[in-house]
Each structure stands twice: as structure tokens, then as C-alpha cells.
């Protein structure tokens, strides 16, 4: 068992994902996400009117979404965002399609999916979390309300 485990308030587990372990602040949205449909890629701000995270910036956040929305844009867009310092630090999806994974591999952004318990209900925006893709798990280190 990892030394960090006793300090975690909650552990979400699933199949191994991609990328290095990272820590950051969660941005949880009950909507699906696409960097083309929803994001102002010049600023990193979610720009679609009516998106549940409209106005929030994805930069350096652990972005938690239901699933990948729409088309193939994320394949290049995540790399472009990463190189301009606007990318999310990691992605957690309830379930992802191939495109998000391809984009995350190119950009070296950690990604995980199919975790239990469901990250959409277990995680809240502002939670401090540790993402460990190789071990297929996410640790909640600190709750938003306690910060």
C-alpha cells in the first residue's frame, strides 16, 4: 500500500490510465466536454453558453467530465493547449472515447476513466486530488469545503 493512502479521504479505482501521477484542484462538470464545442482555446475558458462549467478556466485543473463530446479536435487541441500553458493538468472521464486518449498521449496529459465510485458524484469542484494513472486510481486529499 502506498504511504499516501492513509492520508486520502477517498480513493476512486479503475483500470490503468495513461500518464504520470499529478496533484491538483478538481473542476467537476456534470456535462460532456469538447475543446472545440465548449472551450475558448485562446484563453482556456469554457465558453459555451449553458455549459455547466461556463466561465471556468480548465488551465492546470484536474478536469472531471462525464464523457468526451463530439469530434476529433481534442487530438491536436490538447497538445496545442499544453504547449501554450492552458491545458488541464489531468482528465478524469466517467467514460472516454478514443479521441481524448489519443490527444492526451500526444500532449502527455494524464487521463483515467471508468472509476468507482463515480467521479461525478464523488468529486467536487475545488477538491484537491492526486491522480495516479498507472495504478488506476484517484485520491481525494482535501475537500473543497474544508479549504
Amino acid at each position: 500500500m502506498s504511504a499516501t493512502l492513509p492520508e486520502a479521504l477517498l480513493v476512486l479505482e479503475g483500470p490503468p490510465g495513461f500518464g504520470p501521477a499529478v496533484e491538483g484542484e478538481a473542476l467537476v462538470t456534470g456535462d460532456a466536454f469538447s475543446p472545440r464545442y465548449d472551450l475558448d482555446r485562446a484563453t482556456g475558458e469554457i465558453s459555451r453558453r449553458g455549459h455547466r462549467a461556463e466561465g471556468q478556466n480548465v488551465r492546470d485543473r484536474i478536469l472531471v467530465v462525464t464523457t468526451s463530446k463530439g469530434g476529433v479536435a481534442a487530438g491536436w487541441a490538447f497538445y496545442d493547449l499544453k504547449c501554450r500553458g492552458l491545458a488541464p493538468k489531468a482528465l478524469i472521464c466517467r467514460s472516454t472515447n478514443s479521441v481524448f486518449v489519443q490527444g492526451c498521449v500526444l500532449a502527455n496529459i494524464p487521463i483515467l476513466h471508468r472509476l468507482t465510485p463515480d467521479p461525478l458524484s464523488a468529486l467536487r469542484t475545488g477538491d484537491r486530488v492526486r491522480v495516479e494513472p498507472q495504478r488506476g486510481r484517484v485520491l481525494v486529499l482535501e475537500r473543497a469545503s474544508s479549504r
Binding site: 483500470p15 490503468p16 464545442y37 464523457t67 463530439g70 469530434g71 476529433v72 497538445y79 490527444g103
Partner: protein, 424 residues
């Protein structure tokens, strides 16, 4: 080689050739590409790679940015070469119209350089999102590595070919290695229908088929779902299936559908479900179809922009638009934009359809799709606020660029372009 996953399970198996590629024996580009593919394959539990006959790649300046261009420069300099033919998807600039559309000269310049890099590597510059109508029709069971999503869902569903959504870098990688990880829609089990869709709505205009795709896509918004459409009485045209597929892929991120009695893996409902029961049933009646149109209401009667795109128009669609416009004039306060590819443009010009659209004041763009053209910047430069379209896919996407999307049938779009306003 066996790559052992973190949980200790044996995962992806590479053959000797692939292992050599991963070790760098076939050059840096193939090594880099296969390493990416191995990671993606591992993520989805692929057990092997599968050879592909061709790749279709999304790659333009608007989505790739400076970082993507730099990557291409590197591989062009290092003389990367493709193992299987790779064609290109619609892009962000029609050079003949860039100035008129006030597109950013820097983006236009970089797009030209990006195309130069792709050509240096050996990419076939086709610039079309309807490759399956004009460039390449894979046969039943053929494995390909395609993106954009509209091309993938058409290949899987209508042609019975096999592809996952391969985004730009993934299709690029598949072109370099000649293979792709074998998971998802390359495997028979994943192609099994999961949701039964009972359709009773009337389907006439292309927009009706797009609306059907939207209704189903909203109800099953998960790449791993495969809807099976039943009850459709009319024999659909390729353009109708094109709008249906593009819309399903856009609203649901879906890569495959079946239509009982129409698509090749659904000669019967039982075959579509591979002998299993559907997980659930969705009804699309007239009210459900009407609700899709109603979800894109007009913000005001005046229409700034009418766009027919997403997917690019076929020769038949261009003919329809030219006939609807024949001898009429697009309103002075409204801009009409139509997009197609080079092949259809040439054929439609020969038949007089391009001239008819242009004479009416419409703008026909070649090799692009509207939503790829940095539309947010165009909106600001021209002062456009709303956009009227017969493409359910465009209506879904364009809100992210802060347009007000209005979705109507083809004739209503053309009537509004002429009147400058939507009839109440």
C-alpha cells in the same frame, strides 16, 4: 513483445516487425508513432495491432496551432514517410476566399506552410470530410484509420468498414506505421447494437435526418453505444445517411449505427443486436423531431448568416441549392456560405450549379468546413450574431464560438437567405 500493465496483466502483443519499429529500426517517425499507438492500445486493452489500408487525417492550423505546425516541420525535415496512403480532411482556409472573409493573414500564411509540410511527407491533400462520397470507399470488413467523426460513422455503418475515431495525430501515426491498435470498432463485439430506436417521425429534408441524429445522439451520448434504427419506411439516400451519421457523431460522439434492412450488418434486427437484447428502447416520433428544431429558436427575425456545411455538400446538394436560388438574390444584409470539396466543385461548375449560386450572391467555399475557419474571429469582424443552417452538426458546434444557432430545413434556409429574415 509483451507490455505488462500496471496490474500485471499481459496486454498488447507486437509482432516482430512492430517490435522492430518500436525499437527504431524503421526510423524515428515510425518509432514515435508506434509508441503513441501502444499507449492508446494499452488504455483500451487492445491485445494486438491491426493493419490498415489507409488513413484520413484532420490537420489544419486552426486546431493544430503553432505547436502542431512545429511538430510537422520536425517530421518533414526528418523525411518521415507514410506506409499507407493518407488523405486530408476539410481545413480552415480556402485561399481564394481568405481575404474576402477577413481571415487572419498570419493563420492563412501558416496554413500554407502546414500544407507544405504535409505534402513533403507524402500526404494526399484532398481536404474533404466526405472522402467516402468522392475519394475512397473501403469495402466491407476493411480496416481503416479515419477521422473526422462523420467519415468514421459512415465507414462503419453504411460501408461495413472498421475504424475508431482517429483524431489528427492518431491518423498521422497510423499512416506512418500502417496499423492501428485493435480495439473498439475494429472488433465485432463492439459493433453490436445496444439501443433500439423506433422511428415514426417523417423524414424528408436532409435536416430531418440531421434532427433524427440529434435526437438519438442526445439520448445515447456515449462512444460505446450503437443505436439500431427501425421503422424507417423510406429508402435513404447517401446524403441523408451522411447527415444522419454526422449528427449522431456530433451529438452522441457515436461511431456506428445500424438501420434495419439498410446497413450491411443489420439485414435483420437480430443480426444488428448480434442475437442479444437491446439495453433500452428510444422512440423518435414527430414530436421528438420537432423538439430538435425547437431547441434552436430564432433570436430575432433577421438572419445575419446562412451556412450550408458540416458535412461538405455533395453534387446533389449543390444542385438543389442552385435550383432553389435560381434567378433570385440573397438579401443584402445576409451572407450565404456553402462549402464543398474540389471534386464536387469542379463537377458542379461544369453543370452550371456554382454559377447559379454565385450569381445569386452566395459564396461557395472549397476544401473547408465553416466551423474550422476560426469562426469566432469572423463573427467579430463581420458583426454576425446568428447563423441559420440545415446542418444539425453545425448547429451543435457553433454555439461554442458564441454564435446564436438556428436550425431549419434546407428550403427555409434558402428562403431566409433571400428574404433576409425568417418567416414567423
Amino acid at each position: 513483445m509483451q507490455l505488462v500493465s500496471a496490474t500485471g496483466e499481459c496486454a498488447l502483443q507486437l509482432d516482430a516487425n512492430e517490435q522492430a519499429m518500436l525499437d527504431g529500426a524503421h526510423g524515428g517517425a515510425a518509432q514515435w508513432a508506434l509508441a503513441m499507438q501502444v499507449e492508446v492500445g494499452r488504455f483500451f486493452g487492445a491485445e494486438r495491432m491491426v493493419p490498415v489500408t489507409c488513413a484520413h487525417m484532420m490537420g489544419d492550423m486552426e486546431v493544430m496551432g503553432e505547436a502542431g505546425l512545429e511538430l510537422l516541420r520536425t517530421w518533414a525535415d526528418k523525411e518521415a514517410r507514410f506506409r499507407v496512403p493518407i488523405t486530408t480532411n476539410a481545413r480552415c482556409v480556402d485561399f481564394a476566399a481568405a481575404e474576402r472573409l477577413l481571415q487572419d493573414p498570419a493563420m492563412v500564411r501558416k496554413e500554407r506552410e502546414l500544407i507544405g509540410c504535409l505534402r513533403a511527407i507524402g500526404v494526399m491533400q484532398t481536404d474533404t470530410c466526405i472522402n467516402y462520397q468522392t475519394v475512397y470507399q473501403p469495402h466491407f470488413g476493411e480496416h481503416v484509420a479515419w477521422g473526422d467523426t462523420g467519415t468514421v460513422i459512415y465507414a462503419n455503418s453504411v460501408l461495413g468498414a472498421r475504424s475508431n475515431f482517429e483524431s489528427g495525430p492518431a491518423a498521422f501515426a497510423a499512416g506512418l506505421t500502417g496499423r492501428t491498435p485493435c480495439y473498439g470498432f475494429h472488433e465485432t463485439g463492439c459493433r453490436r447494437g445496444t439501443v433500439l430506436v423506433e422511428v415514426t417521425a417523417k423524414l424528408e429534408d436532409l435536416a430531418d435526418w440531421g434532427a433524427l441524429g440529434a435526437a438519438v445522439g442526445r439520448a445515447c451520448d456515449d462512444y460505446w453505444q450503437v443505436p439500431v434504427l427501425d421503422g424507417i419506411r423510406t429508402a435513404p439516400s447517401p446524403d441523408q445517411l451522411k447527415h444522419l451519421g454526422a449528427s449522431l457523431a456530433s451529438y452522441g460522439s457515436l461511431a456506428m449505427f445500424h438501420m434495419a434492412g439498410v446497413t450491411p450488418e443489420a439485414r435483420t434486427l437480430d443480426e444488428a443486436f448480434q442475437g442479444k437484447q437491446p439495453e433500452r428502447v428510444v422512440l423518435v416520433d414527430q414530436a421528438a423531431l420537432d423538439a430538435v428544431f425547437a431547441s434552436y429558436p430564432a433570436d430575432r427575425p433577421e438572419v445575419d448568416l446562412v451556412v450550408l456545411t458540416g458535412p461538405q455538400l455533395s453534387l446533389f446538394e449543390l444542385r438543389l441549392v442552385s435550383e432553389l436560388l435560381d434567378g433570385r438574390r440573397v438579401h443584402a444584409n445576409t451572407q450565404l456560405i456553402v462549402t464543398t470539396n474540389r471534386q464536387n466543385f469542379a463537377a458542379a461548375r461544369e453543370l452550371g450549379h456554382i454559377e447559379a449560386i454565385e450569381r445569386a450572391g452566395g459564396l461557395v467555399l472549397v476544401g473547408v468546413c465553416f466551423y474550422l475557419m476560426a469562426p469566432g474571429e469572423m463573427r467579430e469582424r463581420f458583426g454576425w450574431q446568428n447563423v441559420l443552417t440545415n446542418s444539425a452538426k453545425l448547429a451543435n458546434i457553433i454555439g461554442g464560438y458564441r454564435y446564436w444557432p438556428i436550425f431549419r430545413r434546407t428550403r427555409e434556409c434558402i428562403e431566409a437567405a433571400v428574404a433576409g429574415r425568417l418567416e414567423a
